[in-house]
């Protein structure tokens, strides 16, 4: 952390659970202004839960998540509302409202929260659509879009108000490699042109290494390491090494138990 960069999001001692099942254990994480932080982990590592906590969609069991001097776990509705207007979230499937066209979906935050002129709103929307290569799709309904287009439309909506912080849930999931690379480039451009701080949750190694300033690696609800791409590559923790080298999890085979699993219930 340089002296210049301030901490935008401070996650402290976060424990999160669904009922009795604890999903996150003592997470400590800081997001610096202007950085691209990638939260990585396999399925079931708790990265989606961490994201939901950071977005205020879930309350943690213990711990705090501070945005400046506002703790999203204890803030008033008005404070959270104000905070959310400077944040953008791009969800996995786009999460567009099915009854509105693409254009109206993107315009929604502007129409609800600002009193900008319709002309301005219209041009802003088209600027974002052009950025996402969706220029001709403004009047289509979400049901008429492919998965990749839905994602980009969702991203357009997430950045329509030029948020200070952008959250991106699994950007590359379901995208072809070319689109995925374009999306990576877009994320980098957004950060430099708009000075956005971007938090990406993903399990795609290539993307992560391309875009990340820092990567936070989760395993079974624990934050194993947070560091730059080089630090992650140099990490000696077995789980991280396996993740990077894409080795499948190796369970020691117990031959007797294996045989009995295979033949359960046979005469």
């Amino acid at each position: 952390m340089t002296e210049q960069s301030q901490i935008l999001i401070d996650v402290n001692n976060l424990d999160s659970a669904y009922g009795d099942r604890q999903v996150l254990h003592d997470i400590n994480l800081q997001v610096e202004q202007g950085e691209i932080l990638v939260i990585m982990g396999g399925s079931g590592s708790g990265k989606s839960t961490l994201l939901r906590n950071m977005l205020g969609l879930m309350k943690p069991r213990t711990g705090s998540i501070e945005f400046g001097d506002i703790n999203i776990c204890h803030a008033t509705k008005a404070e959270i509302s104000k905070l959310r207007r400077s944040m953008g979230v791009a969800f996995q499937g786009g999460a567009l409202l099915s009854s509105l066209s693409v254009g109206d979906n993107i315009k929604l935050p502007l129409r609800q929260h600002t009193d900008l002129d319709e002309n301005t709103i219209s041009i802003m929307t088209r600027l974002k659509l052009e950025l996402m290569n969706l220029a001709d799709h403004e009047d289509l309904m979400p049901s008429e879009l492919s998965g990749g287009m839905l994602k980009r439309a969702g991203l357009a909506r997430a950045v329509i108000m030029d948020p200070k912080i952008l959250f991106f849930d699994e950007p590359s999931a379901g995208l072809d490699p070319v689109t995925s690379v374009e999306l990576d480039q877009l994320i980098l451009n957004l950060r430099s042109a708009m000075n956005m701080t971007i938090i990406v949750v993903t399990h795609e190694l290539e993307s992560a290494f391309t875009i990340a300033d820092r990567i936070a690696v989760l395993f079974d609800g624990e934050l194993v390491i947070t560091g730059t791409v080089d630090e992650i590559k140099a990490c000696t923790d077995e789980r991280v090494v396996n993740l990077i080298n894409r080795k499948p999890r190796k369970n020691q085979l117990d031959a007797d138990k294996y045989l009995s699993r295979l033949t359960k219930g046979a005469n």
């Binding site: 977005l55 959270i80 104000k82 979230v89 969800f91 999460a95 567009l96 099915s98 935050p109 929260h113």
Partner: protein, 261 residues
């Protein structure tokens, strides 16, 4: 044996859980009606769907019900020499009972199922999460217009049902059974009181709230359904919404009738 008791206890607790959730849900929706901005366009769209869109089935079913009522009453009344009371009988039955209940059932079938499924799918696709993260209240933006639209539309639909049912009875009575049209209408005027109309109206408003509340609530909490997800969960909650709202509506019908008859 203890396992059975545990199961019973767990399901009782789960039921109270659900009741509490639904209560809080309705509370949030009602309060959100007073938040700004108010979605007037959405309200109109919902009235068009719930009200105007249901008119064809309301008019058809109302007509047939009225016709059947007249046939049924005639068969009984003819032995007592009381057929001149046909108009009174048909209209009383419709206004007090069949109008509100049948309208509610038709709306449950059409609107209750569609609304529940739509909201369940929105939940599954994280649309409510997206709205929340955009600082747009899902209660204000999605739920409140539907609640208000139901409260506006269903009493009106009930009124139409009553009217066309009375007309259906008229057609059967006068053209099939050779009753006097004037007597039919006269007995209606003599028998139907403001209390009857009030009962019809109160029932329809309460049924409206029950129908839309249960439909939206079931859809909204689809992610809490145990053991299912995705399309299967949507199907399950929609079925439950239809069945539960029908039964609760009939129960409410009894309660209201016992107070007002």
């Amino acid at each position: 044996m203890f396992a059975q008791i545990e199961k019973l206890g767990a399901s009782v607790i789960a039921s109270f859980d659900e009741l509490g959730r639904f209560g809080l849900f309705l509370n949030s929706v009602v309060w959100s009606i007073f938040s700004r901005p108010f979605g007037f366009n959405d309200l109109l769209k919902q009235i068009a769907f719930i009200g105007a869109g249901s008119m064809p089935i309301i008019l058809l079913s109302g007509l047939f019900t009225g016709m059947v009522l007249a046939l049924q009453f005639y068969a009984v009344m003819v032995d007592f020499g009381a057929v001149e009371l046909m108009g009174a009988a048909v209209s009383k039955s419709l206004i007090q009972e069949l109008g509100p209940v049948m309208t509610a059932l038709m709306v449950i079938a059409r609107v209750g199922s569609a609304t529940c499924a739509e909201i369940a799918i929105m939940r599954n696709e994280q649309q409510f999460d997206a709205l929340t993260c955009m600082a747009i209240s899902p209660y204000r933006y999605i739920m409140a217009p539907r609640l208000l639209a139901a409260i506006v539309s269903i009493p009106l639909l009930t009124a139409f049902y009553n009217l066309i049912g009375i007309f259906g009875g008229y057609v059967v009575g006068v053209y099939l059974k050779d009753l006097s049209g004037a007597v039919y209408m006269q007995t209606i005027l003599e028998t139907i009181t403001w209390a009857d109309l009030k009962m019809s109206f109160i029932k329809s408003v309460i049924f409206a709230v029950i129908i839309i509340w249960i439909a939206m609530g079931k859809g909204f909490f689809v992610h809490l359904e145990k053991g299912v997800s995705g399309a299967e969960a949507v199907g399950r909650v929609t079925t439950k919404a239809v069945v539960v709202s029908a039964i609760v509506m009939l129960f409410a019908d009894y309660i209201i009738s016992s107070f007002l008859i």
